[in-house]
């Protein structure tokens, strides 16, 4: 009988890997000196490519020259002050007595080296920073010259990619090895797809943090992340689902929310052959849709109904930026003016019902829900929709081809606290991202003027005027200002959600009984 040995061997061969001990994951959520954070993105500390939204843990390893406070205002980071010394030049005074995690001192030469490496290594950094040259004038002074007058440079220097690295972060070829920074925690360990571990850096220039260790656990599934919090596997769950936010509010767990810079909006195709090519139709839609119902229906109330492109929650939003009111009667009048009439509850023109082709992408969890709610709301108002979902690049292909009426997107237009980034790259006539067939010379001129201006009355006026044109032309349909959320275990104190969504600050967080 030859079967049994063969079967046994086969069974062993299969069973061995399954039962082999796996690398242990420290059960540290119970320990008061360690904070365990569950994140939706994987942090990738060991390479620089996919940097931008992965910055959250490096915000504790690295410092940027300038930082954003909780109101999205610029505050000193490694630069204590900065001044625009000419249309194209900025001078930064650097913080003294700062050491990198490897013990080397931080000075202007180190900052120059780091920024130059970043521009060399990241294909998109040069365009973002618009930098012509960087000079270390003296050990505490850094001078940066831009390619053109560029007032938003200090804002761009808060961007995740501009964190300052020590020379030892790079190898002899200038390639990135690992993050060595000046932040309160230093990088210790990274286990792919599982976690990143950082440890307290005792020579940190600011106040010493309470925790000896922070572990970032990567739990991509939104439900799973919150369940891990509830079962005590993690201390903080970043971005819990709206339904869980509502549920956890009723429990001992703490829910933190912060209105953010992010916006969900519909981007209209304004080409003449589309129904949305008629400005009256766009304005009618803008007035017709009750955003609060979208926030309720799709996001369980976690979000702010958006009636303007930039969230009014922030100081830097220009004075006098317009808001569109909810006005169903006005909308009906506009549609009638555009040649539509309401027959049996549906808007019809020349016997054809008003039908909008809406595109979106399903890779962002809340996108299908928002699109779904919008479509249901439009149906209620007598406007038909045909909705298609893709991956983001798939959707962009149809958008580029002009085969759509509305594409629903999410963007963080003021990630760095300045209107320029988004208006310039998305809505000006020659913007690489303008697939809306929209062109307005006056708007272009205002945006180009705003780039060169310092904050003040003229700045406010210029941007307010540009935003007024956007509102009058109704070329976007703002839907929801995102509210970033986090849920923490009952014993976690002092944690705040940053409105940019990218920075986590654990310096003043504590755990355990008060």
């Amino acid at each position: 009988m030859t079967i049994r040995p063969i079967l046994l061997a086969a069974a062993l061969a299969v069973a061995a890997p399954a039962l082999a001990p796996a690398p242990a994951i420290a059960d540290s959520a119970a320990d008061n000196k360690t904070l365990v954070v569950g994140t939706m993105w994987e942090s990738l500390p060991l390479n620089m490519r996919a940097r931008r939204s992965r910055f959250f843990n490096e915000s504790e390893i690295l410092d940027t020259l300038i930082k954003l406070d909780y109101d999205m205002n610029l505050v000193p980071g490694l630069a204590t002050s900065w001044e625009r010394t000419g249309p194209e030049t900025f001078e930064f005074t650097l913080r003294e007595g700062v050491t990198f995690h490897d013990g080397t001192p931080f000075d202007a030469e180190a900052a120059k080296l780091s920024l130059e490496r970043v521009i060399a290594l990241l294909p998109y950094a040069a365009g973002l920073l618009n930098v012509a040259s960087i000079e270390a004038s003296d050990p505490q002074t850094l001078t940066i010259t831009t390619n053109e007058p560029f007032a938003a440079l200090p804002n761009q220097l808060t961007d995740a990619i501009t964190g300052i690295y020590a020379a030892s972060s790079f190898d002899e070829n200038g390639d990135f090895v690992q993050p060595v920074g000046t932040g309160p925690f230093r990088f210790v360990d990274y286990a792919k797809q599982q976690q990143t571990v950082v440890e307290r850096f005792d020579d940190y220039w600011g106040d010493a943090p309470a925790f000896e260790q922070v572990i970032y656990r990567h739990i991509p599934d939104h439900n799973a992340r919150t369940i891990a919090l509830e079962t005590g596997e993690i201390d903080i769950s970043i971005n819990p689902l709206p339904a869980d936010v509502v549920r956890l509010k009723e429990s001992d767990f703490k829910v933190l929310a912060e209105p953010s810079a992010g916006l969900y909006y519909g981007s209209f195709n304004t080409a003449d052959d589309r129904p949305t090519g008629d400005v009256r139709v766009r304005r009618a839609l803008d007035r017709l849709i009750d955003r609060s119902l979208i926030v309720e229906g799709a996001l369980d109330g976690v979000g702010m109904p958006a009636r303007s492109f930039f969230s009014p929650a922030f100081d830097w939003v220009p004075e006098g930026a317009p808001e569109t009111p909810l006005d169903p009667d006005g909308a009906a009048a506009l549609l009638t003016e555009a040649g539509y009439e309401k027959v049996d509850g549906s808007w019809v023109k020349d016997g054809e019902p008003l039908t909008l082709r809406i595109l979106s992408y399903s890779t962002r969890t809340e996108m299908p829900l928002i699109t779904d709610a919008l479509s249901a709301l439009l149906a209620r108002e007598g406007i038909e929709t045909s909705v298609e979902l893709f991956t983001f690049p798939g959707m962009m292909e149809f958008v580029r081809a002009g085969d759509y009426d509305i594409s629903i997107v999410f963007w963080t237009p003021e990630m760095t606290g300045h209107p320029d980034l988004h208006l310039k790259s998305q809505f000006t006539t020659d913007a690489t991202l303008n697939f809306q067939n929209w062109s307005n010379a006056q708007f272009d001129a205002l945006v180009n003027k705003g780039r060169g201006l310092d904050r003040g009355a003229e700045w406010d006026e210029t941007y307010a005027e540009a935003l007024q044109i956007m509102a009058d032309e109704a070329m976007v349909l703002p839907l929801v200002h995102k509210v970033y959320t986090a849920a923490t275990a009952p014993d976690v104190q002092g944690f705040r959600v940053h409105p940019s969504g990218f920075f986590y600050d654990f310096k003043s967080v504590e755990k355990g009984a008060e």
Binding site: A18, A20, A22, E42, A126, K192, Q193, A228
Partner: protein, 312 residues
């Protein structure tokens, strides 16, 4: 037999080649400029400028014609260089290492459960054919085949992780982490295996030599193990080989829900992110594994069944 075996290996390699062309064609058919998509992904959704794009294309070889790109990839792969992930910037081999171990642990345990539970249920049902027990096994087996794995995963997490607290809700780790997802994956194939084992044994039990053994007074149990099972085994092994492919299907959804860092999730992510080097490597690894499993199963079946020796 050796010659047949080498022919089959050759076909296996051809299948792999076909798969790699499939993977490449798939990505070539993707709407949108390939290089741009990759850059957008690295920039978290922002569109790169034209100069940035041109530089990136030149640096990464995207401005070559598609066949040139394919053969460049093939040549590098044959030298063991799978390239660098577009999403993470890490070498593909590093991406695959952990994922392979994770998936093989998960699917391996699921496979053990399938063999043990499915086999046992099938034998019990066959031995007690027509009885209440047989019907019960049938109901359990067919129900198992009918439960959507994503739905079962959701219910399992609720029940076993949250309500009962018996296992962690998600993540990579030891036996307690792997048991829930493995059970979910095994449920469907357990049912199918039980049904198949039962039917095969019943078929084998009706064979003349088995009936003779029974007539000569051999106990039903002894007859089963010494006569019926050996006859039914080749077919069962073939089925189990095919089940392995279905298990990877299961892993795709289950790994996502349980945050298990395996090949299934990598596969989904690499499609969504158009991480072409990773997708190609994943397809090759999964394809090669299943071709090998099926080859091994056919060999084992041939070794166990003299009638099939020539067919292999």
């Amino acid at each position: 037999m050796l010659r047949d075996l080498s022919v089959r290996c050759l076909f296996g390699c051809l299948t792999l080649l076909g798969l790699s062309i499939f993977g490449f064609a798939l990505l070539a058919m993707l709407p949108g400029d390939f290089a741009e998509v990759v850059l957008i992904n690295q920039m978290d959704g922002e569109l790169p400028s034209a100069e940035t794009l041109a530089k990136f294309k030149a640096d990464e070889g995207f401005d070559e014609p598609l066949p040139v790109q394919y053969f460049a990839w093939l040549a590098a792969t044959l030298r063991g260089n799978l390239g660098v992930s577009f999403t993470t910037g890490d070498p593909v081999t590093a991406e695959l290492g952990l994922r392979m171990v994770a998936t093989f642990r998960l699917v391996g345990l699921a496979f053990c459960l399938t063999v043990l539970m499915g086999g046992a249920l099938g034998v019990i049902a066959a031995l007690n054919r027509g009885s209440l027990l047989d019907r019960l096994v049938t109901v359990v087996a067919i129900s198992g085949m009918s439960v959507p794995n994503f739905w079962q995963s959701l219910l399992f997490v609720l029940l076993f992780a949250l309500v009962l607290g018996w296992a962690p809700s998600s993540g990579y780790g030891g036996f307690s982490h792997v048991i829930l997802p493995a059970t979910v994956i095994a449920t469907a194939s357990m049912g199918l295996t039980a049904r198949f084992v039962r039917a095969s044994l019943i078929e084998a039990l009706s064979a003349p030599h088995v009936r003779t053994a029974l007539a000569k007074g051999l106990s039903p149990r002894a007859t089963l193990f010494s006569h019926a099972l050996p006859a039914a085994l080749p077919g069962i092994l073939t089925l189990l080989g095919l089940q392995a492919a279905r298990m990877f299907d299961g892993a795709i959804v289950v790994e996502t829900i349980f945050a298990w860092p395996g090949l299934g999730r990598l596969f989904v992510d690499s499609i969504l992110n158009r991480d072409y080097p990773v997708l190609q490597a994943t397809i090759l690894v999964v394809g090669a594994t299943y071709i090998l499993i099926n080859l091994a199963v056919d060999c084992a079946a041939a070794a166990l069944d003299p009638r099939m020796r020539r067919a292999v």
